[in-house]
């Protein structure tokens, strides 16, 4: 590991850790039940009891509009892990614990893990991809209409569109950082099929990765007005031996005047050159 990078990583994550600890103390009573339920069932969305008073669009569909963020440690490492210099401990968010890598892919994952302090694409400010943008420790905002949902991620100000207008994936598209997302409603659950990815994103800071054959099926469902159960099944025959599933809980930001603050991390290397300034005399 590049030891020079450790303080940077710690600095980057320091605030998140504090927030995480604070949140877990404040919310433990509220959160414990749904999280445990989510952890034990492969499809918590189907078992969650949805409050009938959840926000809805005029067409009756659940309205996920709002600013959301997880308190989980998923982005440090999706799999169960002890504490280490650059991550708090976590039981992980993968159903069954471990990600079912193919042998060769597991070797690559281990290399990624060793090089994470320099090679994690997120450290370069790259678009996080799907599902990482959902559980990365920065907020994202959902703007929802009947025909689509726009997800604007604070990190990189990346924009992801989920179409809910009964359209299909394009037939011969480019590969995308955020894939191509087509959603439909199964009762009060938004089911999203995402494919046509590139292979440039990681799934977390621990080097879990995928190829351009990645295929994801997401399920979004309200647990209550201010809480979403997010479930994603991840499939990639080039990397994994079988599909596997993750579950995270997303909380609505309810702080007064809370808003996204665009976080164009990748411009920091050159932004000092602009705009022109008066010459020093």
């Amino acid at each position: 590991m590049n030891t020079q990078s450790i303080p940077y990583a710690l600095h980057r994550r320091g605030l998140s850790i504090s927030l995480l600890l604070l949140s877990s103390v404040l919310m433990s009573s509220l959160v414990t039940a749904p999280v445990q339920a989510a952890g034990k069932k492969s499809a918590p969305a189907a078992t969650a009891k949805t409050d009938q008073k959840i926000p809805r669009l005029a067409n009756g569909k659940p309205d996920f509009s709002g600013i959301w963020q997880t308190t989980s440690a998923a982005d440090y490492d999706l799999e169960p892990h002890s504490n280490r210099k650059d991550a708090p401990p976590s039981a992980g968010i993968v159903d069954g614990g471990e990600i079912p890598y193919l042998p060769k892919a597991l070797e690559q994952k281990k290399k990624n893990f060793e090089a994470r302090a320099t090679d994690d694409p997120a450290l370069k400010g790259y678009t996080l991809g799907v599902p990482r943008g959902i559980y990365y420790p920065e907020p994202f905002q959902i703007f929802q209409r009947d025909k689509d949902l726009f997800l604007v991620h604070q990190f990189g100000h990346s924009v992801r569109t989920i179409y809910t207008n009964k359209t299909d994936h394009p037939e011969d598209p480019n590969d995308w950082w955020l894939g191509d997302s087509r959603g439909h409603w199964d009762g009060d659950t938004l089911v999203v099929d995402v494919r046509h990815f590139n292979d440039k994103t990681w799934l977390d800071h621990a080097g879990n990765f995928h190829s351009d054959a990645l295929h994801i099926v997401e399920k979004w469902q309200f647990l209550d007005n201010n809480t979403i159960a997010y479930n994603a099944t991840i499939e990639d025959p080039n990397v994994f031996s079988r599909p596997w599933t993750i579950n995270v809980v997303l909380y609505r930001h309810r702080e007064k005047n809370f808003q996204l603050i665009e976080d164009y991390r990748y411009t920091l290397d050159y932004d000092q050159y602009y705009p022109p300034k008066p010459d020093k005399k």
Binding site: S65, K124, Y126, F143, G156, N257, Y264, T267, P276
Partner: protein
């Protein structure tokens, strides 16, 4: 899966090259286009709705109608906002030249790309006040702009690389004359999804962010006055230049914007008052005309940068591909990053 990102990078780079080569086409076309009278929006519309072939380049209206602020008589959304959602673009030129939108690049090393027609036969300056069409720069700032224009074609120092070429957000106001863009509306929000960066306009009256937070797209607070969206832009980092001609505002600047929509919601004029006592000698006004694009138009890869969705029905449904350059984090779609390895 079928096409790799390299392909996409090439596409993006190719687009940049295409943009440069289109300047000459554009200029010739501007010569040929007949001067349109101010008060003839109908004629303008007819021209604008003629479908352009794919990749047909940058729009080139030489005149555009005035639109007065007033009551909104068109469709409204359930929350009372005028419904102006959809796909939009500027109508006079891209960011090659801020004050002479069809005038090509100053100091262009290729003389064939220089405009052949008279200044008055090209679109007016985006600076509508003062009357000379020039940004009222303080002398030091005017000198910096001159330097930028001289070095643009051979950027020997990093400050002479146009930041959009690094895939930085196009910012305010340049996003409005780059590619086409989509406007979506929600209770308490108008959102501009630009090709290079997005702007979230907050309508709920919350205060601006703390003043030490500076952003490429600024921090926008808006409200509707009849047919006019009025937006106050603060927290601007001043880093996104206004074009390849290098005009700029600083992080001390403030921008008051008015987006004035016409009666049938097919056009709007942007009027922004730019104030920055550390860079300018007086406030000045920027005017940018825009038109709407709908399912009746043919996607053209630039102003109407959409595609036709795949679905089982017969009606045309528009798709928009991932906004790649800015969201893709590298010069020309990662080209710079990839070659660095």
């Amino acid at each position: 899966m079928k096409k790799t990102l390299h392909h996409r990078s090439l596409t993006v780079s190719g687009m940049m090259i295409a943009t440069l080569s289109l300047i000459s086409i554009n200029t010739i076309a501007a010569e040929e286009s007949k001067k349109q009278e101010d008060a003839k929006p109908a004629a303008t519309e007819q021209k604008a709705q003629t479908p352009n072939p794919a990749g047909s380049g940058i729009a080139k209206e030489t005149r555009f109608p005035n639109i007065a602020s007033g009551a909104w008589k068109g469709a409204k959304l359930p929350d009372g906002q005028p419904d102006i959602q959809g796909h939009w673009s500027n109508t006079i030129g891209n960011h090659n030249n801020f004050t002479d939108p069809q005038g090509g690049l100053p100091n262009d090393p290729n003389p064939n790309r220089a405009p052949k027609n008279a200044r008055e036969d090209r679109a007016p300056s985006r600076v509508s006040d003062p009357a000379d069409g020039q940004v009222p720069f303080q002398p030091w700032a005017a000198e910096k702009v001159k330097q930028f224009q001289a070095k643009f074609h051979d950027p020997t120092e990093p400050q002479f690389v146009e930041p959009l070429a690094r895939c930085a957000p196009a910012g305010v106001p340049k996003s409005l004359y780059w590619h086409g863009y989509e406007i979506a509306q929600y209770p308490d929000y108008v959102v501009f999804f630009f090709d290079s960066g997005s702007r979230i306009i907050h309508l709920d009256g919350k205060p601006h962010l703390p003043s030490n937070i500076k952003l490429w797209n600024g921090d926008s607070r808006g409200h509707w006055e009849g047919n006019t969206l009025v937006v106050d832009v603060d927290n601007h980092n001043g880093k996104a230049l206004f074009g390849r001609t290098g005009e700029f505002i600083s992080e001390n600047g403030k921008i008051q914007e008015r987006y004035i929509f016409n009666e049938d919601g097919t056009r709007f004029n942007y009027e922004g008052v730019f104030t920055d006592p550390t860079v300018y000698t007086r406030p000045f006004t920027v005017t940018i005309p825009a038109r709407k694009w709908t399912e009746k138009d043919t996607p053209n890869g630039w102003h109407f940068q959409t595609s036709i969705a795949t679905h089982s029905g017969k009606e045309i449904i528009l798709d928009h591909e991932e906004r790649i350059c800015s969201e893709n984090n590298g010069g020309f779609g990662l080209g710079a990053v990839e070659t660095k390895k």
